[in-house]
């Protein structure tokens, strides 16, 4: 029964969001199959002699097995009211009565409870139900259901309750049906179910293994098949109290449960629904047996979210909870993979992920663990931290990075200095034209103007070289893109003109052929050259204006800039240019030697 209920409800071809939300979010799957039964009013329990009370109690229980249609609020109001008052009376009787729970009553109570509770849950009103955003569909028959649940609880918690008799009626089938109800969308119902199942698990030792197994099944189906089950959080909460009471040493079954069920639960999309309870369970396990730390953290790293930053924040929160209870030896074992992940989180472009990761350093205990292992952790974290300190857009993150770097410096100044030096050396090395093979993704964050730190904004040698390469490959579009977007606006100013455009004109006038991009070929290029010659006679601002008016090709300007700019720089750059022109060989007719005398004197 249970498996059918899950699989049937999932329709992979359902058209989503087609239904309009017209009704109140209330649902019920009750159907009255029998003909209307007129409830006969019975005498009150307190009015009959004690010897007749049991009989009357049973008759009243049977009467309460009748269910009513709550989707029609006006239907059978009299019957509904009578059942409500009867349930209240029964509740009162079970709570306060003495010797009420005689053996014949047990099956009658369970029968009444089954008749009221066990039903096929209505299909979700909203197939796109987002547990966090949408209101849940509430159970329409709640006025009666709540009383039935209350009665059930009182029954189980009664001092007269005898598990030995109870186990005859509360059997595996009953528990299965109860577990199915955990998928109810109504949180009130799930809350009752949670308490009820908790009591059953506590009282019926014979059912414990079965309940655990069935919960496992629900979880596994949830993780690997449906990804949809409303009561995961409640079930986990029950498990939390169960795990808390596990005897030591832990049975291998329980360890299996942790690794095979609880850890995979982390990968489900709607983790946020039950993450608190899940994290609680995991931490309980680790407090019971610290040797489980390594498989748990490795498991978390395995399921670490790649795209969902919200989940990533949750994972980081859980990591902090785990690190709070971790033993130093276990920390030592997992620190390397863990901190490699944390370094990735710190460099996350999503500020919340980075923020959460950096906030780990605010935890005294974690700090002390890092302190002990600083020689391993600092080299892992340092490159990410140092890089981000230079380029992150979010000021909160930058401030946090400062904090972390400062704590590192306080932890081990020497290592900190060594790491700074080696990082810089490494970067210098990668700046070498021979070394850099990566594709240039232009709008990299390093090119974005760093807010409030303007003195760092000069194009680096590497950037210039990359432009040079693009020019060489004639990938004009790649260069044009960012300029059109205004990213390099700062560069294209008067100085740019003097240093870049003008030398190119001079070079042309001297009869040097420059291999312009194909767009500027033939007549167009000679026209442009003529225009440029004319430009030379004008004042600087005039020239700029004219250049803008004529929409001189930025490609041309840029192409020249790359070469003249290189020449203006140190000799190193010149040698680079030599290598570029060598590489391009005879195809390119660009010449860069001996141009110094042509540089503008202004």
């Amino acid at each position: 029964m249970s498996s059918g209920a899950f699989v049937d409800r999932i329709d992979p071809f359902a058209k989503r969001s087609m239904k309009k939300k017209t009704k109140k979010p209330q649902g019920s799957s009750r159907y009255r199959t029998e003909q209307d039964v007129e409830l006969q009013p019975l005498a009150l329990l307190k009015d009959v002699p004690t010897c007749e009370q049991e009989d009357l109690f049973i008759r009243k229980l049977r009467q309460c097995c009748v269910s009513f249609d709550f989707m029609d609020p006006m239907a059978d109001l009299k019957g509904k009211e009578m059942k409500r008052s009867t349930l209240n009376e029964l509740l009162e009787h079970v709570t306060n009565g003495r010797g009420v729970l005689t053996e014949p009553v047990y099956p009658e109570i369970i029968k009444m409870i089954s008749a009221n509770l066990f039903r096929t849950l209505p299909p979700s009103e909203n197939p796109d139900f987002d547990p966090e955003e949408d209101d849940p569909t509430l159970e329409a028959s709640w006025p009666h259901l709540t009383l039935v649940y209350e009665l059930f609880l009182r029954f189980l918690e009664s001092s007269d309750f005898q598990p030995a008799i109870g186990k005859k009626v509360i059997d595996q089938k009953f528990v299965l049906q109860l577990l199915d109800l955990f998928d109810s969308e109504d949180p009130r119902e799930r809350d009752f179910l949670k308490t009820v199942l908790h009591r059953i698990y506590g009282k019926f030792l014979g059912l414990r293994a079965f309940i655990r197994k069935q919960i496992n099944n629900i979880f596994l189906r949830f993780v690997y098949e449906t990804e949809h089950f409303n009561g995961v959080g409640e079930l986990l909460e029950i498990l939390g109290s169960i795990i808390n009471g596990f005897a030591l040493p832990l049975k291998s079954e329980h360890k299996q449960f942790l690794v095979k069920v609880l850890i995979p639960l982390h990968k489900v999309k709607c983790l946020s629904m039950y993450h608190a309870q899940l994290a609680y369970c995991v931490v309980q396990f680790l407090e019971k047996d610290s040797t489980l730390t390594e498989p748990v953290i490795r498991g978390l790293l395995k399921y670490w979210p790649k795209t969902c930053s919200q989940k990533e924040v949750m994972f980081l929160g859980e990591i902090e909870e785990i690190l709070d209870v971790i033993e130093p030896l276990q920390f030592f074992k997992i620190q390397e993979p863990l901190f490699r992940q944390i370094a990735r989180c710190v460099s996350s472009p999503h500020f919340q992920v980075a923020e959460r990761a950096l906030y780990l350093w605010n935890n005294e205990y974690i700090m002390s663990l890092m302190e002990e292992n600083n020689k391993i952790i600092m080299p892992i974290m340092f490159p990410a931290l140092y890089r981000i300190s230079k380029e992150h857009w979010n000021q909160t993150i930058v401030a946090l990075i400062y904090n972390v770097l400062k704590t590192f410096m306080e932890m081990n100044s020497k290592l900190f200095d060594d790491l700074t030096a080696s990082y810089k050396a490494e970067r210098q090395k990668s700046d070498d034209p021979e070394e850099s093979t990566e594709v240039w993704n232009f709008p990299s964050t390093s090119l974005m103007p760093a807010p409030k730190r303007s003195f760092r904004r000069t194009p680096s040698k590497k950037e210039k070289q990359k432009v040079a390469k693009l020019v060489e490959k004639k990938s004009w579009q790649k260069i044009l893109g960012p300029i059109n977007k205004g990213m390099w606006k700062k560069w294209i100013n008067e100085e740019f003109y003097v240093r870049i455009v003008q030398p190119s004109i001079l070079r042309k006038m001297k009869g040097r052929k420059i291999d312009w991009p194909s767009e500027a070929s033939g007549d167009a290029s000679s026209k442009a050259a003529a225009a440029e010659v004319e430009l030379l006679s004008k004042s600087m601002s005039e020239r700029l204006q004219i250049a803008h008016k004529q929409k001189m090709k930025w490609t041309e300007m840029l192409g020249c800039w790359v070469f003249s700019g290189q020449m203006d720089d140190e000799e190193k750059d010149e040698s680079l240019m030599d290598s570029i022109s060598e590489k391009s060989g005879s195809k390119s007719q660009i010449s860069v030697e001996g141009d110094n005398e042509e540089e503008p004197t202004e």
Binding site: P163, Y280, M314, G317, N362, A399, M409, T420
Partner: protein
């Protein structure tokens, strides 16, 4: 003290060579002072016991001078020094009398050495050194003018910190610990902003001098140190990191920093533009480094190389209040010696003894030129070694900055997943037996929350 290098070097392999040992001792003891130049609180006092006639007329023993006058006098002084026939007989440490004739600085040092060696037969230590040609060992110092200038200027920029140690509960005053903590904050800022080393040295110098002059409450220390940093940025590289008030967490506004900068500049007579950078230990170490590279390229290159470590070491040393009180040239020389000291024992293949000797001799010349007495050298050496040992020990710093950890509200809400389980969870069910026990109180570190609340 310089000789520790050489002693370590010779310790194992040539102890039997009493000759070179003797030689070494003599070289180290050969502390020639050329008169003393004292410059305190902008008062220049120049004394030359033997050649008062060389002093310019009207120059009193103590005379208050401005910067311009100072330079002028300095030139006079250097010129005097260059005159032949100048005799120097002051001996700082009890060693054999060394009298010398001939040009001193700015001329051919080697020639001077030779003259000394050959001409002064009454000199005992020269008589001892037979078979060893001193001329080969004696180096040729370069740019003594620059060195001299800085030696004189050094006094002007010398801090004299008299801070209580942190062990004394001296409320209301900046302690050594607080000062050192601030120094390390500045060092972190220097790394953070990728500033040249000089910024740090100037900032520390400005801060220390301000602390020397003023009594400062601990609550103002962050503001003072960061303002010093800003001033140093302006002086050294004409730039100013704008977000430093936020980044450094100095708990004061940009306006506060600007005001503090003005106060510091006034108190110290600091000119941001065109005032020149203060003479610091870095200035000296650079001079020494250049001089050594010039004269002992092979061995010194092998020992120190680019000296990356050495600059780093100097930064660390200057972050210490005790070391900051020594003369800048002392600290620089000690750091240089420490660097060579460590390097010489690790050198593979080992350096030749004559190279080491000649380098040691050169360094001791530097010591002489800087007028560093053996006593103060060894005191400084001890202080520096303490700091460096602590640094090399890779231990935790004693003074930690109180950092503020801020996160966005969004993140704050999701800090701890289990915080959501605020209501009491279900009672524990024991695995064996029916009994239920109360839920164990959760052990959780609340440090994140707590520290935030305290902000």
């Amino acid at each position: 003290m310089i000789l520790t290098i050489a002693f370590r070097y010779f310790g194992d392999k040539s102890m039997n060579d009493s000759h070179s040992n003797l030689m070494l001792r003599r070289t180290g003891a050969q502390l020639v002072s050329f008169g003393s130049v004292n410059c305190q609180n902008k008062c220049l006092e120049i004394t030359d016991p033997h050649h008062s006639s060389h002093q310019s007329p009207g120059r009193d023993r103590t005379e208050s001078l401005g910067d311009g006058r100072l330079k002028e006098m300095l030139n006079d002084f250097v010129n005097n020094m260059k005159q032949p026939g100048l005799r120097h007989s002051e001996r700082p440490v009890g060693s054999a009398v060394v009298s010398s004739e001939g040009p001193f600085l700015g001329c051919d040092w080697q020639r001077w050495q030779q003259q000394q060696h050959c001409g002064d037969s009454g000199n005992k230590w020269c008589a001892d050194v037979t078979g060893m040609d001193l001329a080969q060992l004696a180096p040729r110092p370069e740019a003594p003018d620059a060195l001299l200038t800085h030696i004189v200027l050094e006094q002007k920029y010398q801090p004299h910190l008299k801070l209580p140690t942190h062990s004394q509960k001296c409320s209301g005053e900046v302690t050594v610990g607080i000062r050192n903590g601030s120094a390390h904050v500045l060092r972190c800022l220097k790394v953070w902003y990728d500033m040249p080393s000089e910024v740090l040295f100037v900032a520390l110098n400005v801060m220390d001098r301000f602390l020397t002059r003023m009594k400062v409450k601990p609550k103002h220390m962050a503001c003072i140190s960061v303002s010093s940093f800003q001033l140093a940025c302006k002086v050294v590289c004409d730039c100013e990191p704008l977000d430093v008030a936020v980044i450094s967490q100095c708990k004061c506004s940009v306006g506060d920093l600007t005001r503090m900068q003005a106060i510091i500049a006034t108190k110290l007579g600091l000119q941001v533009e065109g005032g020149g950078t203060p003479t610091t230990a870095l200035t000296f170490l650079r001079l020494f480094h250049a001089a050594c590279l010039n004269h002992h390229d092979r061995l010194y290159q092998r020992l120190v190389g680019e000296g990356d470590d050495m600059w780093q070491r100097l930064e660390i040393v200057m972050c210490d209040a005790v070391c900051a009180n020594f003369r800048a040239c002392e600290v620089a020389l000690v750091v240089l010696c420490c660097q060579m000291d460590t390097a010489v024992s690790q050198l593979q293949p080992a350096a030749s003894s004559s190279d080491v000797l000649s380098l040691v001799a050169f360094v001791s010349h530097l010591q002489v030129a800087c007028n560093i007495s053996e006593a103060s050298f060894s005191a400084c050496h001890e202080a520096v070694l303490t700091v460096v040992a602590q640094y090399n020990g890779e231990t935790q710093m004693p003074h930690r900055q109180r950092l503020v950890w801020r996160v966005s509200q969004r993140t704050l809400r999701y800090l701890r997943p289990t915080d959501k389980l605020s209501r009491p969870t279900l009672p524990t069910i024991m695995e064996h037996g029916q009994g239920t026990v109360c839920a164990r109180p959760r052990m959780s570190s609340t440090s994140s929350q707590e520290s935030l609340a305290s902000v």
